[in-house]
């Protein structure tokens, strides 16, 4: 399955809206988009996962990469992740590094 990536720049945050699967084949594209951002200076990154059906370890590595590049006090939000994706994030201990919210209204 493919992945579409839309990026929206806000005042203090960047929103990346994903649609499809973030897997071994598509994660490099996400990684490339993340690398192009000035993560070291980003206060807040929002990943909208409402239209994402599947995230494998390749996708998780991209998320880890982003958080590691961001300032220590920054926030990385995962918006609307499915129950299965949240379960995977919890299992791997990555929930400590991100903020999981149901919708953008919760930010």
């Amino acid at each position: 399955m493919s992945l579409t990536i839309e990026i929206e720049q806000g005042d203090i945050h960047v929103t990346i809206t994903l649609s499809g699967d973030v897997d071994t084949k598509t994660a490099p594209e996400l990684l490339s988009k993340l690398t192009a951002l000035e993560l070291h200076a980003l206060e807040q990154l929002r990943l909208d996962l409402q239209a994402v059906e599947f995230v494998s370890s390749a996708g998780l590595r991209a998320i880890v990469f982003a958080k590691q590049k961001m300032p220590h006090e920054s926030a990385l939000y995962l918006i609307g992740a499915s129950e299965q994706i949240v379960d995977t994030i919890n299992k791997t201990g990555l929930a400590q590094a991100v903020r999981i919210v149901s919708s953008v209204d919760d930010i």
Binding site: T24, F54, S56, S57, L60, T88, G93
Partner: protein, 156 residues
């Protein structure tokens, strides 16, 4: 629902065949596994396993200039009154024992700034299925993933 052979696919272990391999397994999972959470876990474990094999095969191609073949098969098995969905893979890449059950675990408590990227795939395989095994048989890496599923007919 008794056990049944759901089919197999064999092709060179390369990214060109990644979609075919994963689609083969995920379609069978969708058809056979009613429970959404179990379906996702099986798909995740299978994707991680196939991706690892293909990645390793790429290294063999680069260093030994030979193509690795990969066979992926799926079946349901009935054991002790329980029904299992089983994914089996067989490849002739380099001998690699993932040491399921005895490998150094991923430190899920470690701070994100210190997290290493490696090992997540194998960790997710172990965490996603009920039983996982590895054997080196006659020059083939052989993996078997098993997840217990509910033995009722899937609604059309």
């Amino acid at each position: 629902m008794a056990g049944q052979d759901l089919g197999s696919i064999e092709a060179p272990a390369s990214m060109e065949n990644w979609d075919r391999m994963n689609d083969f397994v995920s379609n069978l999972i969708t058809e056979s596994v009613r429970d959404k959470a179990k379906s996702y876990k099986l798909r995740l474990a299978s994707e991680e396993l196939i991706s690892n094999i293909i990645r390793a095969a790429g290294e063999v191609k680069d260093s030994e200039n030979r193509e690795v073949s990969l066979r992926v098969a799926a079946r349901t098995e009935e054991q002790d009154g329980r029904l299992w969905f089983v994914v089996e893979t067989k490849d002739d890449g380099r001998h690699f024992d993932p040491q399921f059950g005895s490998r150094k675990p991923v430190d899920t408590e470690q701070h994100i700034s210190e997290r290493e990227i490696g090992g997540l795939g194998l960790f997710l395989i172990e965490q996603s299925v009920d039983k996982v095994s590895y054997d080196w048989i006659d020059g083939y890496n052989t993996y078997r993933l098993c997840l217990e599923i509910v033995a009722d007919a899937k609604q059309p």
